[in-house]
């Protein structure tokens, strides 16, 4: 996908500040902002996209620099490709430490408020968190939209699955989802007659197949109900084999790498096993692909309709006191990521869209003094809680190959048990114990340093130790709780003087009950596979949670949601079902933050679908 070369040039901040003809100003170049920008440009609207990061990764060279940074990093965590930029800082999980109740750690970008420490991350660069997402794209289940009605838990959405279904299809088209309808029609999921995904499903990994061989045909009994087990493929936002039957037989053309000059890369997934933190060949979707399409659209005068201003950190939403509408955004534009020197510009437009991710959007609202009528800005923070379970399979499974995750055990995503405990979906990680233990490097160190292996015994030891690894990552539902929240405090600021987010989070008991069951469930699966359970949770772990006499290390899922939830009235929510602010009619807060619940679906597909809805509402508003 070719960027027009002019979009690679740096837009002049003064020209942006002087401009009076933006129809829409969008904060953030992640998938939410990209979808709305593209929709608006298709309708001939003028759009400004503000991006806090440098935007260097718009060109292939810049993108490949991220890859080199990753190769060179001694610690390959999920933010390691992304250079440190104090002006647009982001959370980095290796920096965390265990906290006591009441203790605060402000040494990291997100100020952590103990005792629970979240290792959740998001990425503040061009493309947002789609630059490091794993790109699993399950839809939420029909029942997930009505969990209060169905199970007495969480909140109901102001929308039904049926109202969102068509937008799911648009999101699947935009992302380019590879999946087979027959694999995804479990737990009552239905698709319109004749629907196929844009590309065929990716094959299950050999590891998935080995796990399936051990559990297929078995079941578990939960509160008297039987749940059959099997390994099912995940839908994936990465290029596979185009399905000729897509779009009524018109097929689908996969979108490759973006660049400012002609290059062909980003075709079919090559199995780099590195979706997180960075697909080296851009086979995985990132929102730059959507933005590249938007940048190519020109207005009547031939001028590009969409402009991108990088190195621009929105710092204040300015409200007109008479109308209650947003009149402008104050934006700090820095010159160099290595220097805190910046100038503040004021940007005007007709509609403003905050699409900076659940934490940054809430941070911007709160730092502008906008808590909303409901007082819910920053509250109901959600992120999937992950419980990791790891074991050694009895046979060689060829771990460390595939996309990050091709399949999982997903039949406990729904059931009457959700009245009592959280549902979950399990990913089988093709990169083995990496997330839990730092494998395979940690295995190498242990075998060489502690077991004194070298030569043949070392080679054989590594095969035995790494190629048999199985990690079941249990992704647990987390319901909205008002006290789980983002707050600000003027004493904690970043290099540009913007207040940093303070995160207070307690894993709800509903989720912990699900976690306790998930641990037993994993042990059952391991027993059926004949796998040696190596799971252990350390008390000193920053995410350690005690529950009913047992301890569990909970990990964040980077599926941030809920800081500006949608609802039916201005007193029970921050935005309406179109993600428009109840209080400010020309302000849209979009993305995961609008989601009242997250079920057991990775949030990106759903929030992308919601943005198509918002895009239409914005265009209606402008007419």
């Amino acid at each position: 996908m070719l960027f027009p070369s002019e979009s690679a040039l740096r837009v002049d901040p003064q020209a942006v500040a002087g401009s009076r003809d933006y129809d829409i100003v969008i904060v953030g170049s992640g998938i939410s902002g990209a979808i709305i920008a593209k929709q608006a440009a298709e309708a001939g609207k003028r759009v400004l996209v503000l991006e806090a990061g440098t935007g260097a990764n718009r060109s292939l060279v810049g993108y490949d620099d991220l890859l080199t940074t990753f190769y060179s990093a001694a610690a390959k965590d999920n933010q390691s490709p992304f250079p440190v930029n104090a002006n647009a800082a982001m959370p980095r999980s290796p920096q965390l430490r265990k906290l006591q109740a009441g203790e605060t750690d402000s040494s990291t970008y997100i100020v952590q408020s103990g005792p629970y420490v979240s290792d959740t991350t998001y990425t503040r660069i061009f493309g947002g968190t789609t630059m490091h997402w794993e790109a699993k794209t399950p839809r939420m289940l029909r029942s997930d939209f009505k969990s209060r009605t169905n199970y007495g838990q969480g909140l109901d959405w102001p929308l039904s699955f049926e109202e969102v279904e068509e937008d799911y299809r648009l999101a699947e088209q935009e992302i380019g989802v590879s999946a087979n309808v027959e694999d995804q029609s479990y737990l009552g999921q239905t698709f319109p007659d004749g629907y196929v995904f844009p590309m065929r499903g990716l094959p299950l990994s050999y590891l998935d197949q080995q796990v399936n061989n051990g559990i297929d045909g078995t079941s578990v009994d939960l509160y008297g109900r039987i749940y059959p087990l099997k390994v099912r493929p995940y839908p994936q936002g990465r290029n596979g084999i185009p399905n000729p039957a897509y779009d009524g037989g018109r097929g689908y053309r996969p979108v490759g790498a973006v660049n400012t000059h002609q290059v062909e890369e980003g075709g079919r997934c090559q199995g780099n096993t590195n979706c997180v933190p960075l697909c080296p060949v851009q086979a995985r979707y990132h929102s730059g692909k959507t933005l590249a399409k938007a940048f190519r659209m020109n207005g009547k005068s031939g001028q590009p309709l969409v402009e991108l201003l990088p190195q621009a950190v929105a710092s204040k939403v300015v409200i007109d006191p008479d109308s209650g509408k947003v009149s402008a955004l104050e934006v700090k534009v820095y010159e160099d990521p290595r220097s805190p020197v910046y100038e503040t510009i004021t940007v005007r437009g007709k509609v403003f869209v905050l699409a900076a991710g659940a934490i940054e959007t809430a941070r911007l609202m709160l730092s502008s003094g906008l808590r909303s009528t409901s007082g819910l800005v920053g509250r109901n923070l959600m992120d999937h809680a992950y419980l990791l379970n790891w074991a050694l399979m009895p046979q060689i499974c060829g771990t460390m190959r595939g996309t990050s995750s091709t399949g999982g055990i997903v039949d406990l995503r729904d059931g009457p048990f959700r009245e009592k405990q959280a549902a979950f979906a399990i990913d089988i990680h093709n990169d083995g114990w990496g997330w839990a233990t730092g494998a395979p490097t940690s295995d190498l160190l242990e075998l060489v340093d502690d077991r004194n292996l070298h030569g043949r015994e070392l080679r054989q030891g590594l095969i035995d130790r790494v190629s048999r690894q199985l990690l079941l990552a249990v992704m647990l539902e987390v319901m909205p709780v008002e006290s789980n929240r983002i707050t600000l405090d003027p004493q904690f600021t970043d290099a540009l003087g913007n207040m940093r987010p303070i995160l207070s989070f307690t894993v709800p008991e509903y989720t912990m009950r699900g976690a306790a069951y998930a641990r037993q469930f994993s042990r059952t699966v391991f027993a059926r596979l004949g796998a040696q359970d190596h799971t252990s949770y350390d008390r000193s772990d920053f995410g350690y949670v005690a529950y009913e006499g047992q301890g569990y290390a909970i990990r964040g899922g980077n599926h941030l949601a809920g800081t500006h939830i949608m609802g039916t009235t201005k007193t029970n929510s921050v935005v309406n079902k179109n993600q428009r602010s109840w209080d400010h009619e020309n302000l849209y807060l979009v993305g995961g933050g609008s989601m009242p619940t997250i079920g057991t679906a990775n949030v990106t597909l759903t929030l992308a679908a919601m943005c198509f809805r918002s895009g239409r509402d914005i265009l209606n508003y402008l007419h």
């Binding site: 499903g201 090559q270 771990t399 060489v448």
Partner: protein, 174 residues
């Protein structure tokens, strides 16, 4: 090639159980010898190479024991040899243990670092397990659906390295 690099390769073959061809195929042999020189110094490196050269010849039943006694079990050389194994396998020089620096003196260049971006890519660990480094040397669409191709290595005392796999029933699904 100089005798020094030849000795270094011989030592590395013995420590890693990868052949001279495999080691040269990384394109990193000289850089790794240079890393040893830079981090622990030429003297210690030469001591290590000399200890290797002094081992009983291959085929002599005492060679394995001597390797353990004079290199892997040497107070000076053991940790250096282990760091060298880890370097070949991962492309990362891992900082020497605290006890070593306490005894033999801290070395300014001794920190944990990736020698170069390609050193990560050429780590032997991945080859040993029939996989590829995460983010590089991709094996191609759908390859993950098949059993791994784990290269055999020089015959060991047991037959454990020649496990065979049946390829049927593992067609690309869907």
């Amino acid at each position: 090639m100089s005798d020094r690099i030849e000795t270094f390769l011989g030592l590395s073959v013995e420590l890693t159980a990868f052949s001279r061809f495999d080691l040269l195929a990384t394109g990193l042999a000289e850089r790794y010898l240079g890393t040893l020189d830079k981090v622990v110094g030429g003297d210690t490196t030469n001591t290590l190479l000399a200890a290797f050269a002094a081992l009983p010849p291959p085929g002599d039943g005492t060679r394995a024991r001597a390797l353990r006694a004079t290199i892997l079990g040497s107070e000076l050389l053991g940790d250096v040899a282990r760091s060298l194994i880890k370097l070949w396998y991962s492309g990362t020089w891992f900082e020497l243990p605290y006890a070593w620096t306490q005894r033999f003196g801290a070395k300014p260049a001794d920190a944990t670092f990736v020698v170069s971006p390609d050193a990560y890519v050429e780590g032997l660990l991945w080859k040993a397990i029939g996989a590829h480094p995460a983010g590089a040397k991709a094996p191609g669409y759908g390859s993950w659906a098949y059993p791994p191709k784990i290269p055999a290595f020089p015959a060991s005392d047991t037959k454990a390295d020649a496990v065979s796999v049946h390829l049927q029933n593992v067609g690309i699904m869907s």
